[in-house]
């Protein structure tokens, strides 16, 4: 599944970048995130609870950030699995100034497998869009709160 989108965060590019790669911020902002722990350079252990329709479950795995070019871009690889299947994704996140705000664009491929793949397939894209909107919306809130 191709996944792409843009969001605006009410902060400078530098500040937005900081927030985006801060595991504590991400743990707070990511919907269903139970844990996000720094393991090694750019590597985080992650646990999330998520679901679509009747297929809900906990997923654990690893998030890896690479090709980090502050404050403009980085590559993110997600590899998590759980009782209801697995999610593997790879994407590029880019930041650009947009007046006083920052415009974030992302583009990537996501592969979903196991029981979760067999149910509600046509809802996967919209569920993913909803989750990214929640994530970036929450980061935007953090940015505005830390400024005020």
């Amino acid at each position: 599944m191709r996944l792409s989108g843009t969001h605006t965060i009410g902060a400078t590019v530098e500040r937005a970048f900081e927030l985006l790669i801060d595991p504590e911020v991400l743990a707070r902002c990511m919907p269903g995130c139970d844990k996000l722990e720094h393991r090694a350079d750019g590597v985080y252990d992650m646990a999330v609870s998520a679901g679509i329709g009747p297929v809900r479950g906990k997923y654990t795995g690893r998030v890896t950030l690479s090709d980090i070019q502050p404050p403009e871009r980085y590559t993110m690889v997600v590899d998590i699995k759980g009782t209801t299947g697995f999610v593997k994704g790879q994407g590029v996140v880019e930041l650009a100034p947009d007046g006083e705000n920052t415009r974030i664009s992302f583009e990537g491929d996501v592969q979903i497998g196991g029981p979760i793949a067999a149910v509600g397939q046509r809802m996967h894209a919209s569920a993913a869009r909803l989750m990214t909107r929640q994530l970036f919306g929450a980061i935007d809130k953090e940015a505005r709160a830390s400024e005020g």
């Binding site: 009747p54 009782t83 592969q111 979903i112 196991g114 029981p115 793949a117 067999a118 149910v119 397939q121």
Partner: protein, 777 residues
């Protein structure tokens, strides 16, 4: 066969009171002391290496009795069998080992990897979450085309490609037919993969009795005896120490004509755990790991003359059979080849099949099993010929029909069609439809921008399976008929039903034949300890083959009853008749004897004619001399909504000829369900695997089954052309509706879209597909 009392009457199914009151006993209703519940861990990957499995945490969960993996059972449970692997029939066939639990590699999503037995079903399910499997994902193959592509990953590494087998059939002189043709009409035709979806999913209960070294296995199966044989081989047990019971079975449609991993696995677990075990398949498991149907894509060419006469047919096709074979996988597409000529006279015919291993569940017999592909193909192509040559599709059909005087008719594929009158069925259907008026209505509606379509299917199918020589695992059937001392009749039949109503139709035959009340007859089936060996219920064979075995056994019983009656009445057997339920000398019913009175004499054993054995029970094993060939005409009238692309079925007319009819209610029920399933293929259903081999239509939210509101009231009728193959003259009707309806609907939808220049559309005919076509023109 004359309608006497029962046969031919609309008798309500004797099975239904228990079914509709919730009093039936399915596998899940089997309760045993100390029962353990089994859950199966299934592969989330289509294709991956298994580098390790850690079951420690699952083993340690409170309530878990045992966790088994492929390594634990690979030396004690044999491979899942396939009965159709003869290299003479399938040149170059590759027969991969099919383990009950994966070892080393998984090859499709849903493949069993481990099993947990626990004190309750919820604990077993929770324990699955604690099993850690180290998978190394490999590239997956989701189509035959991908399987044959250069550099494709190889699914079974014992070989160097994914070619599963080839098969071909040829009759007549195809080259000459094409040389002689005025036109060659070609079309690529897809038969999408379908999920059978019986109302009851599969399920197994296994119990081992160590004192007797006996395994009792309850399974929701269509073939208890074949299953018993295979389980005894897989578990290395003596077959006479294995008892298989098919209790009430809630539908099968072919998907329970099989031997599955769980059946052997549970048998093994019951034995080594010393406790009975139960596994009930979930609906999502059923989507992933109960056989699928169809999945052929091919190019068909017809050699045709200017006047619509078909001279020959050439079909080059690939079948996507999935990762492993199930019981009959390779045999299914061969039925397509045999039936390619349909109801038509051309004898120059050729089919060349290549079958591919892919990372999917196996295909196998699903209602119609290979014949829906043939019928859809030829019936669709008749309409394409009519389109290309600007002829009336009915005229093309009539021009090529096999005439009613030509039977028995030998086809180009060396079948002998038993009997038929295709024109009579077509004429009757046209009359019911009021065809001329429909065409006028269609023209008027088109003026208003409304799109009505009329579609035909003048099908013939092969059933009553069948002579043993033509079957992978026996084609005969068995029955025992016995009369108890009090005159109650018990029938044992090898055709274990799963919704066909044998307890009613078979009792009707006995009631008339022996002159007893239908309530005094009991039909026993599905228990291998009670019933002599049988083959099973599939291929619309139960009545034509199993019923015939019973009628022959009943005939032997009746001969004996008549002999005893004649002896007691001091008369001759040829003078004994049944009048008012009594065996009597013709014209003297007042001095006659009831079956009970005669049965008592047979069992007391002192007043028997000299040389007569005591008791009153006879068996018969019937080998059918031929298949039977039901036929008919289905007419669908549909309207396609120009704004939404939705198809509304306005009318559905089906004139089926299944030979003599024992119970019209049951025939109609079979036709209703059959039409619904065929319409499902035409309009709604499709099992889709994505590029990574994930099945993305794995729930009823994602896989559209037809529903009651999708249908009008069916207009059904019959013509009756008795079959000469069996003494009852019956043919079979379990699959005719499914085989006949798919092309009728497809042809109707495409007829509706004629103003848009549409020639062919692949199934399923979903609104978005039709709407886009209508927008493009």
């Amino acid at each position: 066969m004359p309608v006497s009392k029962s046969v031919g009457a609309r008798i309500k199914r004797r099975e239904d009171p228990r079914l509709i009151q919730g009093l039936a006993h399915y596998v899940d209703d089997i309760k045993l002391p100390n029962l353990l519940h089994v859950a199966i861990l299934r592969s989330p990957y289509a294709h991956a290496r298994i580098n390790g499995i850690n079951t420690d945490a699952a083993q340690n969960l409170s309530g878990v009795k045992s966790v088994v993996t492929g390594d634990d059972v690979k030396d004690v449970i044999g491979g899942i069998p396939c009965a159709a692997t003869d290299p003479e029939g399938f040149p170059g066939i590759k027969v991969p080992h099919h383990p009950v639990l994966a070892t080393g590699k998984v090859r499709f999503v849903g493949e069993p990897v481990a099993a947990v037995a626990a004190t309750d079903a919820y604990i077993a399910q929770d324990a699955l979450d604690l099993i850690e499997v180290d998978y190394e994902p490999l590239d997956a193959i989701n189509s035959a085309e991908a399987a044959f592509a250069d550099g494709a990953p190889v699914i079974h590494e014992d070989w160097d490609d994914n070619m599963a087998f080839t098969w071909s059939i040829a009759g007549g002189d195809v080259d000459a037919a094409f040389a002689e043709a005025d036109h060659v009409v070609s079309q690529r035709i897809d038969h999408q993969r379908l999920v059978p979806n019986p109302m009851e999913t599969r399920g197994v209960v296994a119990q081992y009795l160590p004192g007797k070294d006996q395994l009792n296995l309850w399974s929701s199966t269509q073939i208890p005896h074949l299953l018993r044989t295979q389980i005894s081989v897989m578990l290395s047990m003596a077959e006479n120490h294995v008892r298989v019971i098919a209790p009430e079975v809630g539908g099968g449609f072919g998907c329970k004509l099989n031997v599955y991993a769980e059946e052997a696995l549970l048998g093994h677990m019951a034995k080594y755990l010393g406790q009975p075990v139960k596994w009930i398949e979930g609906r999502r498991e059923n989507f992933l790991h109960t056989i699928h149907g169809r999945d052929q894509t091919g190019d068909v060419e017809l050699a045709v003359k200017d006047d619509g006469t078909i001279l020959g047919l050439n079909y080059t096709v690939t079948a996507d059979v999935g990762a492993y074979y199930q019981l009959l996988t390779p045999a299914i597409p061969t039925l397509t080849g045999l039936m390619l000529c349909g109801s038509y006279t051309f004898k120059n015919v050729q089919m060349n099949l290549k079958a591919a291993f892919t990372n999917k569940m196996a295909t196998d017999a699903y209602r119609g099993a290979g014949r829906p592909e043939a019928t859809y193909l030829i019936e669709r192509m008749i309409d394409v010929v009519a389109h290309d040559l600007d002829l009336d599709p009915l005229a093309v059909r009539r021009k090529n029909f096999i005439g009613k005087d030509a039977f028995p008719y030998e086809t180009g594929t060396a079948l002998a069609y038993d009997s038929g009158d295709y024109t009579a069925a077509l004429d009757k259907a046209l009359k019911i439809a009021d065809y001329e008026a429909l065409r006028e209505q269609q023209a008027e509606l088109r003026e208003e921008g409304r799109y009505l379509g009329i579609g035909f299917s003048t099908y013939v199918e092969i059933c009553g399976m069948g002579p043993s020589a033509a079957m992978p695992a026996g084609g005969w059937e068995s029955s025992t008929v016995r009369v108890d001392p009090t005159g109650k009749v018990t029938v044992l039949t090898g055709v274990s039903p799963h919704g066909q109503g044998q307890e009613t139709t078979f009792a009707q035959l006995i009631a008339d034949g022996l002159g007893v009340d239908i309530d005094d007859i009991r039909i026993i089936h599905g228990d291998t300890d009670a019933v002599q060996y049988g083959i099973g219920t599939f291929g619309s064979r139960a009545t034509a083959v199993g019923g015939t075995a019973m009628v022959h056994a009943m005939g032997k019983v009746k001969d004996k009853v008549v002999d005893i009656a004649a002896h007691l009445l001091e008369s001759n057997p040829q003078d004994i008749v049944i009048e008012d339920g009594k065996y009597c000398v013709q014209g003297a019913p007042e001095s006659g004897l009831t079956l009970g009175e005669i049965a008592m004499v047979a069992h007391v054993g002192v007043e028997l004619p000299e040389g007569t054995e005591p008791g009153l029970a006879e068996s018969h094993f019937f080998e059918p001399p031929n298949f039977t060939y039901p036929f008919g005409t289905h007419i669908a009238v549909v309207e396609v909504d120009a704004d939404t692309g939705e198809v509304e079925i306005e009318r559905y007319i089906a004139v089926d000829d299944c030979g003599n009819i024992i119970n019209p209610l049951i025939v109609e029920g079979q036709v209703h369900g059959g039409i619904a399933q065929g319409v499902g293929q035409a309009l709604y259903e499709e099992a889709i695997y994505d590029e990574s081999g994930q099945m993305i239509t794995g729930s009823f939210m994602d896989y559209a089954l037809p529903k009651a509101h999708n249908f009008p009231r069916f207009e059904l009728a019959n013509t009756v052309t008795p079959s000469p193959v069996n003494p009852m003259g019956v043919k079979g009707v379990g699959e005719a509706g499914t085989i006949g309806s798919t092309p009728a609907i497809a042809n109707a939808v495409i007829d509706a879209l004629k103003p848009f220049g549409v020639r062919h559309i692949d199934l399923p005919l979903r609104p978005e597909k039709l709407w886009k076509l209508m927008q493009e023109t």
